[in-house]
């Protein structure tokens, strides 16, 4: 994600009669964006805070006092099933995100750039998984695995996650590829580029923002899925499964700390990227083509 992909260098706004007014109001949208992102972060702040709580009983609902003891590796890694769940969730998330993003992006390309028989059917087949209640997907898939004599576990979780992520990827990438301007590709071909080169130097950079957004969405869907996973997990435990089960006895602060650490990694990544961008200078850099 470090590679900056832009269809065009962001040109400074062209001077014109509206420039003045635009300047006066320029603070509104960035402030608004900041407010929305802050709103999305509110529950995360509470989660982080309760990772520093010293609960009196087994419930971590009420603020009782500050401690950093849950960050001590001995305490943090106390629950081996939770550790395993974190590992499983990340691994399942990465694998199913990768597979579903590749499959979904290819379908999105085919749907928006080619006319072919079966498009309508394919479109319907893509809406339906999103429209199906999760429990139906979970139960139906489990029945399939049992009838095929497949033991449920890690692999079947990945299979189910890829299945329900594909549609989301297709719809998101399609928002980018529909109305796709082929003149650039044609130009590349006219210049003698073979289809492969054309794809990686022209097409891919053009649709990359769509693919990136889709993969983030797929990852979020995967790591947070409870219902479908619970039916197809066998003996494999993921974060939502463990936390849900633990909520009967009381979710320990270690879960907050794990969540905080994962979140922290993301934030650090964002900060480092912004900082690096600053150092390279404020002038918009020329577009970097991936691949």
């Amino acid at each position: 994600m470090a590679t900056q992909v832009e269809t065009k260098p962001t040109a400074p706004p062209a001077p014109g009669p509206h420039k003045e007014r635009r300047k006066k109001r320029a603070w509104i949208l960035p402030t608004y964006t900041g407010v929305i992102i802050a709103y999305l972060f509110i529950p995360i702040l509470v989660m982080i805070m309760f990772g520093f709580n010293e609960p009196a009983g087994r419930y971590n609902f009420q603020w009782e006092g500050f401690t950093t003891k849950w960050y001590n590796p001995d305490r943090l890694l106390e629950f081996e099933d939770l550790n395993e769940a974190v590992k499983n969730s990340l691994l399942i998330g990465v694998i199913s995100t990768f597979v579903s993003t590749v499959f979904g992006s290819l379908i999105a390309l085919a749907l928006t750039r080619h006319r072919f028989r079966g498009r309508a059917g394919l479109n319907l087949g893509l809406f339906l998984p999103m429209a199906s209640p999760e429990v139906v997907l979970g139960v139906a898939l489990l029945a399939l695995f049992v009838s095929l004599n497949v033991n449920t576990g890690f692999v079947t979780i990945v299979i189910s996650h890829v299945m329900f992520c594909i549609s989301y990827v297709v719809v998101t990438v399609k928002a980018r590829t529909s109305g796709f301007d082929r003149s650039l590709e044609d130009a590349a071909k006219d210049l003698g580029a073979d289809p492969w080169t054309t794809f990686w130097t022209v097409t891919f950079p053009l649709i990359f923002p769509g693919i990136l957004a889709a993969s983030l969405l797929a990852f979020a869907l995967s790591v947070d899925d409870y219902v479908i996973t619970s039916f197809n997990a066998g003996g494999t435990v993921t974060i939502p499964l463990w936390v849900y089960g633990a909520s009967r006895i009381g979710v320990p602060p270690q879960v907050n700390v794990m969540g905080t650490l994962l979140f922290g990694i993301g934030v650090i990544y964002v900060l480092v990227s912004i900082f690096r961008g600053r150092r390279q200078g404020a002038v918009p850099s020329p577009p970097v083509k991936a691949g």
Binding site: M1, T7, K8, A14, G16, H18, L29, P30, Y32, T33, I36, L40, I42, I44, L45, F103, L109, A110, L111, H114, R115, F116, L122, G125, F127, L128, A131, P133, V135, V136, L137, V139, A140, L141, L144, S160, I166, Y168, V171, T172, A175, R176, S178, G179, L212, A213, L216, A220, V227, P240, V251, G259, L262, F263, G266, V267, Y269, I274, G277, S285
Partner: protein, 285 residues
């Protein structure tokens, strides 16, 4: 766009093959058996038998019409609100986000990498009857003592809006980011009015994003059960809760399946109507 006349080409089939195959084996086949289940009768101990019992459909429709329509209404509200909330943000990130666009995307999604229960519990801690927010307002007599947010439809809707915001924002961003800035400047010059420029150029060009975002929000929101389960009260039960209960607690697979297909049918019809309203057939694919 793809309307040029061409010879038959294997390319689109090759592109769709892996994904379509996956969906066929792991979605269509199991759902097909599930469809036949929706015409069965019986109970889980003695077994279900296929008898073509279509009354499952009419039974559940008459019994759960309230929850069905409530869910559709919730879905519509959630879609509209998330659209209004995320459009300005998506617009700003796409047009003015500069080099950090992708990072903003990541920021929008980061909160959703944490377990749902933890996020929801946090909201409940903030919105409880005597919480830091409501309790303070009540203390200043700005709210009546009996006022509550949790266990109301407001709470369910807020939960849905919070959780589906990124599903709307991302496709909007993806569509908006594609637009050529020079086009926008030209439009501003042409219409000499920013609102006109927005309505005539930006908005139409972003419609694929609006459409995609609405799908990603409306469809799963209508079938959602967990927000109503954890945040709702006695009159906020959604159809997803009923289906969940039919399958998991009652083990009444035929009725659960019938209800699911009823819901899916309504959603698909709704989506195609929506595509019609938005105009271009190109939007649907």
């Amino acid at each position: 766009m793809a309307r040029r006349s061409r010879r038959w080409s294997p390319v689109p089939y090759l592109l769709t093959l892996p994904g379509a195959l996956w969906l066929t084996v792991f979605f269509i086949v199991p759902m097909f058996t599930m469809f036949s289940v929706s015409f069965q009768e019986g109970n889980f101990e003695e077994g279900f038998v296929f008898t073509g019992y279509w009354q499952n459909y009419t039974n559940v429709l008459t019994r759960y019409d309230t929850q069905l329509f409530r869910s559709l209404a919730y879905g519509l509200i959630v879609t509209l609100v998330t659209l209004c909330l995320s459009y300005p943000m998506a617009y700003w990130i796409a047009r003015r986000g500069g080099k950090n666009k992708n990072l903003f995307l990541l920021l929008i999604l980061l909160p959703f990498f944490t377990p749902f229960i933890i996020r929801t519990l946090a909201w409940k801690q903030l919105l409880g009857d005597n919480s830091i927010i409501l309790g303070t307002l009540k203390g200043w007599n700005l709210l009546p003592e009996s006022y509550q947010v949790l266990a109301t439809s407001t709470a369910v809707l807020s939960g849905l809006i919070y959780n589906f915001l990124p599903f709307m924002a991302l496709p909007l961003y993806v569509a908006l980011e594609r637009m050529d800035p020079s086009l926008l400047d030209a439009a501003t010059d042409l219409y000499s009015n920013r609102r006109q420029a927005f309505l005539r150029v930006t908005l139409p060009l972003s419609l694929p994003g609006v459409f995609a975002g609405s799908l990603l929000t409306f469809i799963p929101a209508v079938g959602d059960f967990i927000n109503a389960d954890l945040l709702g009260g006695v009159n906020t039960v959604m159809i997803g809760n009923v289906i969940q209960r039919e399958f998991v607690t009652n083990l009444d697979y035929p009725e659960g399946a019938a209800l699911s297909f009823l819901l899916m049918g309504m959603i698909v019809i709704g989506v195609f109507l929506y595509a019609r309203v938005l105009g271009t057939e190109e939007l649907t694919g």
